[in-house]
């Protein structure tokens, strides 16, 4: 009997051990204790450079579906999702303003103002329409032509400060160096592509040989990539930044805008984007301080495997406004409009595109997941 007692005690002991301890989220701090985030780029990283004047009146400011929680997600831009992931304060626009043409829009311009100094500096320099080095970019009032209705959207007067100047503004206004605990993000080049596509179309319409015009466009993209790589290498990495995320241009040939331009238009867009991305990858100074994220391949994969990403539509824009800069949940197509005006437009989170080129908040979240994954592999998160 005593021997049986041993056996039963052991069995009871084994049973005892089961079922202690609950499941927890665990330590959510990233492996690198980041203290700030600095963003350079274009509309894909813009968190409100134009959230003044005419744009503020319409409730816009982000190049997506505007309004906190408009789709039920906590954030809109990928840099906002990323800041929350890294336990940083939310990014805000380093420079705001609009060169609005009052005679056209009916709202006065707002002079450019910097917000990048002081107790709580705003260090997101990214602006919608910004190119790598050159002005003007899409949305700039300089592109407004009173005789050409297709240019009227530029009357809003986006500042489109080029990325090169954005970095210089940081170095001049804030600090000549970058903190080793700063995360610096760079995402640019798409606006150079849009300008080159427009130039190509104008030249071909004027009788230029398409092959010659196409060659010039590819060369211009290669030059832009050279310049962006040089800016990252000599202005950011050489000035002390040790955590630099450069995101290449997503495959813009898959956007509703490119699709509407037909197969030849899509092919040109893809060729220009690839020329830029290939040159950028070649010229960036690889090393432990640089993380190049391949958003191009990821954007193609999101179309190929859309269900796996939780997407049901990767070709239709959900905003009825011409630009997502002015898009809110009240200006959405019927398929995703919220049933009640107070409810979030959650259905929009199954669509990739807000307007013809910019993602929905969910599309931005997918980019944030990609960057987060790559940062984890790099050992930063």
């Amino acid at each position: 009997m005593k021997k049986f007692h041993v056996l039963t005690t052991a069995l009871a002991a084994a049973a005892f051990l089961a079922g202690c301890g609950g499941n927890e989220a665990g330590d959510q701090s990233p492996r690198v204790a980041f203290t700030q985030m600095v963003n350079f780029g274009d509309s894909l990283s813009d968190v409100g450079s134009y959230d003044v004047g005419a744009v503020a009146l319409s409730g816009g400011g982000h190049f997506s579906i505007n309004g906190v929680g408009a789709t039920g997600l906590l954030y809109i831009n990928w840099t906002e999702f990323l800041a929350a992931t890294l336990q940083l304060t939310q990014p805000c626009a380093a420079e705001t303003g609009l060169d609005t043409i009052e005679a056209v829009v009916g709202v006065p311009p707002v002079p450019p103002t910097f917000h990048d100094t002081g107790a709580t500096p705003c260090l997101s320099y990214a602006q919608g329409g910004s190119r790598v080095t050159l002005q003007p970019g899409p949305g700039n009032a300089a592109l407004f032509d009173p005789t050409d209705p297709s240019t009227f959207g530029n009357a809003i007067g986006a500042l489109t400060i080029p990325v090169h100047d954005q970095i210089q503004n940081y170095l001049t206004n804030v600090s000549p160096t970058f903190s080793p605990t700063a995360l610096v993000t760079v995402l640019a080049g798409a606006n150079d592509m849009f300008i080159q596509v427009a130039t190509f179309q104008a030249e071909v319409a004027a009788g230029e040989d398409p092959t010659t015009a196409g060659g010039a466009a590819v060369l211009a993209m290669t030059t832009a990539a050279d310049e962006l790589a040089a800016d990252v290498n000599t202005m950011i990495l050489a000035n002390g930044a040790t955590h630099v995320v450069v995101v290449n241009i997503p495959d813009a040939s898959l956007t509703p805008s490119a699709i509407s331009s037909g197969a030849s238009g899509q092919a040109l867009v893809k060729q220009l984007v690839q020329a830029f991305n290939t040159e950028l990858a070649t010229k960036l100074q690889a090393g432990p301080s640089l993380l190049l994220v391949d958003a191009f391949s990821a954007s193609e994969d999101q179309v190929t495997n859309m269900a796996q990403y939780g997407l049901t539509n990767v070709t239709t824009q959900v905003c009825t406004s011409s630009s997502s800069l002015l898009c809110t949940k009240n200006t959405l197509i019927a398929a995703v409009a919220p049933a009640a005006s107070a409810a979030p437009a959650t259905a929009a989170n199954t669509y990739e595109y807000a307007d013809s080129v910019h993602p929905t908040p969910y599309g931005y979240r997918l980019l944030a997941e990609l960057v987060g994954e790559q940062m984890a592999i790099k050992g930063w998160l």
Binding site: Y75, R365, G372
Partner: protein, 224 residues
């Protein structure tokens, strides 16, 4: 507290029964063992369900812990053994498309097993190899997520939690023991467990994983 009470129960039991007659693994004998067991999962996980990066998988790393057994000799050759132990803590790492993200979490596991064993060679001999087979009950609990897991499943949202699970599986084993004196012996065994589990994330995605671990252990035993 629970761990302590188990240990004291065992010690008390050993003291209580310590004066038994010295037979060597013959019918009616009871043996206890205490040792160290290493569990090495051989994971094949399914892709994490949508929404997630395609081909996202998990891998579960090896873990070691103190284990103990109690064995009752039904005949001179056939015995039944109960195997328990302290909890194992396994690291969970990314695999497939998320290979390289490193540790994305950890989970505790306890897997008590009952084995029906057959022992070879003479009951009073010094050396007795054995084989065994029986059911394993596994409980997964006490998981912890990480910043990396949240970043790829719900960036900016509340931290993602890995859901535990309970499963039944089967174990086969081969081992041998060697008698040091009338009471004490040393024992080593290798076990293969066939078991699946399903991890469900608080963000809704899940992955089914075939764990099928191989365990190796070494222990010191006492025959009453």
């Amino acid at each position: 507290m629970k761990k302590q009470s188990i240990a004291s129960a065992l010690v008390a039991t050993v003291a209580l029964c310590g004066a038994g007659a010295a037979q060597a693994q013959a019918a009616g004998d009871v043996m206890v063992k205490l040792g160290w067991n290493k569990i090495m999962p051989k994971v094949r996980s399914s892709d994490l369900t949508a929404p997630s990066l395609p081909d996202s998988k998990i891998d579960i790393k090896s873990a070691s812990a103190l284990f103990f057994t109690a064995t009752y000799m039904i005949t001179d050759d056939i015995s039944v053994e109960a195997l328990g132990g302290l909890p194992y803590k396994h690291d969970i790492v990314g695999a497939g498309a998320v290979a390289g993200v490193g540790k994305i979490g950890s989970i505790h596991q306890i897997s008590p097993t009952v084995l029906l064993q057959y022992r070879f060679l003479a009951a009073d001999g010094p050396f007795r190899p054995y084989v065994g087979a029986g059911p394993t009950f596994a409980k997964f609990y006490g998981s912890k997520g990480s910043a990396a897991l949240t970043a790829v499943t719900n960036p900016g949202g509340p931290g993602t939690i890995i859901g535990g699970d309970t499963e039944w599986g089967g174990t086969i084993e081969a081992g041998a023991n060697y008698k040091i004196d009338k009471h004490w012996f040393v024992d080593a065994a290798i076990l293969k467990t066939f078991i699946n589990t399903k991890a469900t994330l608080s963000t809704g995605q899940s992955t089914s994983a075939r764990l099928n671990p191989v365990s190796i252990n070494a222990s010191i035993g006492y025959t009453f």
